[in-house]
């Protein structure tokens, strides 16, 4: 628990209002987004109008640099209206935030952020190959996955492993970073129509390919999020921690929606062979109470963890691998709690919830797919467990 400044109160109120103002647009177009397998244009326009894509970017590039706990609440509110909209907003906000905080001053930054606030898609996995050329440029080739919202984005952040022209990995003497993030115009990439999935269909998280695309060095950033060029205290975090509010908010929003649907719709249903409605059953009431506690605990835990982390960054305390692992495992824990809540809701939806047009069906599938994301994988527990038990953890994730 922390003190909340009046300034932060105002910021929070403002962002909840922004989320509320576009919730109906996103939910009205949710079915169309799922059908098109990419976010419906009115939803994209609404997100852009209220500034969601600029939420996590430094103020110096036109972003809002919103407090991480407020980001959680803003994404939660949005995901409760439509999980896919929340998801696309989170990916674009965070990807733009990474580019905006890490591109060096110069033509790259000016081109990407010089006009209207950019729509930036991308993925953290370094799935491409960047060959370092003699003039300092990189020749990019590869195939990347999970670029949520890429169809409506002008820019893509494509992380790539660096090679020298002779095909070997650079040595320290080469003065090259081992991995770079390249910010590339979407029009220079090939977007595949590959997003055929069970849930989060509306996010349009397609594969994309680069075939020998030349990227000037000013359009690249070092990978991993260290040494931000600009931004607030939250931008000093490594990528792994910088990304934590988004997934947290999405999971909470999905779970909240499931609980609301149970209370307002599903619970009123009388199932075949029963004399009373679902919500009349003592067993259901008991589980609804327990699941509500689980949800509220997860939410309180998430906000408190990010409040604490931000408070440390604000007074200049740097994060550590152990802290980063702890924050990421919080997100995994919150997600697991929310998956349980949504599963419970789906279960009590009964046979009616099997139909694709049932409101619980969409949130259930969205939550199941969202919980597969590598960021919330259970390796997070193993990693923080090692630190908590006084060991060191191997690997990056």
């Amino acid at each position: 628990m922390s003190r909340v400044s009046p300034e932060r109160q105002r910021e929070r109120t403002e962002w909840i209002e922004r989320a509320e103002s576009l919730g109906s647009t996103c939910s009205e177009h949710a079915a169309a987004s799922a059908q098109a397998r990419t976010l419906a244009p009115p939803a994209v326009a609404a997100l852009e109008d209220v500034g969601y894509f600029a939420m996590a970017s430094p103020r110096e590039v036109g972003g809002y640099d919103v407090h991480p706990a407020t980001q959680v609440e803003a994404f939660e509110q949005l995901a409760a209206a439509d999980v896919s909209s929340g998801w696309v907003a989170m990916i674009q906000a965070e990807t733009a935030g990474m580019a905006g905080s890490h591109l060096r001053d110069g033509v790259g930054l000016d081109t990407v952020f010089g006009g209207m606030f950019p729509r930036v898609a991308g993925t953290a996995n370094p799935e491409g190959r960047a060959t370092a050329l003699a003039d300092g440029s990189f020749r990019l080739s590869g195939r990347w996955s999970f670029a949520s919202g890429i169809k409506h984005c002008g820019w893509v952040l494509a992380n790539s492993v660096v090679f020298t022209e002779d095909g070997s990995r650079p040595t320290p003497a080469d003065g090259l970073p081992p991995i770079i993030g390249a910010v590339v115009e979407q029009s220079r990439l090939t977007v595949e129509d590959s997003w055929e999935v069970m849930g989060l269909e509306g996010t349009g998280s397609c594969h994309y390919q680069a075939h020998e695309v030349i990227v000037p060095p000013q359009f690249t950033t070092p990978f991993g999020g260290v040494h931000a060029e600009r931004g607030g205290p939250w931008h000093t975090n490594p990528t792994i921690t910088f990304l934590s509010p988004g997934h947290t908010g999405i999971a909470l929003g999905a779970a909240r929606r499931a609980l609301d649907l149970l209370r307002d719709q599903v619970g009123q249903r009388v199932r075949f062979g029963q004399a009373t409605s679902v919500a009349d059953r003592g067993a259901f009431q008991r589980d609804y109470g327990e699941m509500s506690c689980r949800f509220e605990a997860a939410r309180a835990y998430a906000l408190a963890t990010l409040d604490d982390a931000m408070a440390q960054r604000e007074i200049g305390i740097e994060t550590s691998p152990a802290q980063d692992a702890r924050i990421r495992s919080m997100v995994a824990w919150v997600t697991d709690a929310c998956v349980e809540v949504v599963r419970f809701a789906h279960h009590h939806g009964g046979g009616a919830a099997a139909f694709l047009d049932h409101p619980l069906q969409q949130v259930f599938r969205d939550m199941i797919v969202a919980s597969q994301h590598i960021y919330v994988a259970d390796t997070a527990y193993e990693r923080t467990g090692a630190f908590r038990l006084g060991r060191t953890a191997s690997g990056a994730l």
Binding site: Q9, A69, D336, E382, T384, G390
Partner: protein
């Protein structure tokens, strides 16, 4: 959004962390002794009194500290983490004294209990006795259970059903039996040697009896819906809300202690694996889940209680919805802590079975604590019904 902290509460919290830290070694050192004698060790009682732990939940008008519920929670958590029995006895004594200090009417009983020094108060509000009006006050009969720490207490609370002069149960307007509670000097009752239990042995929570004991009217504490006579806004809340703090905190402290202990034993290598517990990926994974569940429970409890406190400061009542939500929070916290302790116990393997292994005692304590009525699963049903607008 998290309830707002202010510097006064932060100072109070920091002060209590220091106070508890100052006596934690003493409490831990006498933990086994308390279990052995099935009552809190005198050295622990003295240490708790030194830091004024029994005054935490009492109104200031009678010498209590009226601490913020977050402070109470954190103090009880850390006391339980040092020694479960000490934490448990403290939360019972502190909260029961708080109820008595807030609800006893002005008179000889209040003066006798709180007049000279702050009392050591035990007892239960369950109406397991009866009070019949007679000349000079009430005649008390009953057998009550679970009076944690009664061996070292001067006063005890006893919930009673009210009888009429003819010995028949008095009924309220709603047709339900009327009940109240009496503050009783411990010297006037019989304490049974009944505390033979699996866990929480060190709390000394035996039965106690009164036989035709006559007490003046001012020993009665009208409560259960009645407005307290003294204390801050936090006292004007449903009794269950006031008391759930302690049981939830005890469970959290107990689970934190189990996690501490597991960490200390994680170099152990079980036969058949050849690797230390802490080297095994599954153990790391499950330990993280357990540790985070307890951390979340602690944050959640503080969040809910501080929210309720804020509400009272703004002059808003604790509604029935709020009350059932707070009670369900207690149940959820208890369940989470039970799961965490189960993991710690099970993962340590057969070595933890032995009675001289500290994890054995924690497992026993957790099993016993989880049966407390304040964190019963009934609370989920009540809360679920209210959230679904069915009550």
């Amino acid at each position: 959004m998290a309830p707002v902290m202010n510097s006064q509460i932060e100072r109070e919290l920091a002060d209590w962390r220091e106070r508890v830290e100052s006596i934690a070694p003493t409490l831990s050192a006498h933990s086994a002794e308390s279990v052995e004698r099935r009552a809190l060790a005198p050295a622990s009682v003295a240490a708790l009194e030194t830091i004024e732990a029994f005054k935490l939940s009492g109104p200031r008008e009678v010498g209590g500290l009226d601490a913020h519920p977050m402070t109470q929670l954190e103090a009880f958590v850390e006391l339980s983490r040092a020694d479960v029995s000490a934490g448990w006895c403290t939360m019972v004594q502190s909260m029961v004294a708080g109820l008595a200090g807030a609800h006893l009417r002005e008179g000889a009983a209040l003066e006798a209990a709180f007049g000279s020094s702050y009392p050591r108060f035990s007892g239960t509000t369950n109406p397991e006795g009866s009070a019949q009006p007679v000349a000079g006050g009430y005649r008390l009969n009953g057998r009550w259970s679970y009076a944690s720490g009664i061996q070292h207490c001067d006063w005890v609370l006893g919930g009673v059903r009210l009888l009429d002069a003819g010995g028949q149960a008095r009924l309220g307007d709603n047709g339900e039996p009327l009940w109240t509670a009496m503050a009783i000097p411990t010297q006037s009752i019989e304490i049974e040697d009944s505390w033979y239990v699996t866990g929480l042995q060190g709390t000394g929570s035996p039965h106690y009896r009164a036989h035709d004991l006559v007490l003046s009217e001012d020993h009665e504490m009208p409560f259960g819906g009645s407005v307290p006579r003294r204390g801050g806004a936090w006292f004007d809340i449903p009794m269950t809300t006031f008391l759930v703090v302690g049981v939830a905190a005890s469970c959290i402290g107990l689970a934190e202690r189990a996690l501490d202990l597991f960490r200390a034993h994680s170099t152990r290598t079980r036969f058949s694996t050849g690797r230390a517990l802490g080297q095994r990926a599954t153990v790391r994974h499950d330990f993280s889940v357990a540790a985070q569940s307890v951390a979340a429970a602690r944050v959640y409890a503080g969040h809910v209680l501080a929210g309720a406190w804020d509400q009272r400061q703004r002059g808003l009542p604790i509604s029935r919805d709020d009350e059932s939500r707070i009670r369900a929070m207690g149940s959820w916290v208890g369940d989470v802590c039970l799961d965490a302790v189960r993991f710690c116990y099970r993962a340590l393997g057969a070595a933890a079975n032995f009675s001289d292994h500290p994890m054995d005692q924690l497992n026993r304590d957790m099993l016993a604590a989880s049966n407390h009525v304040f964190i019963s699963e009934i609370n989920y049903e009540l809360d679920g019904a209210r959230r679904l607008a069915f009550d």
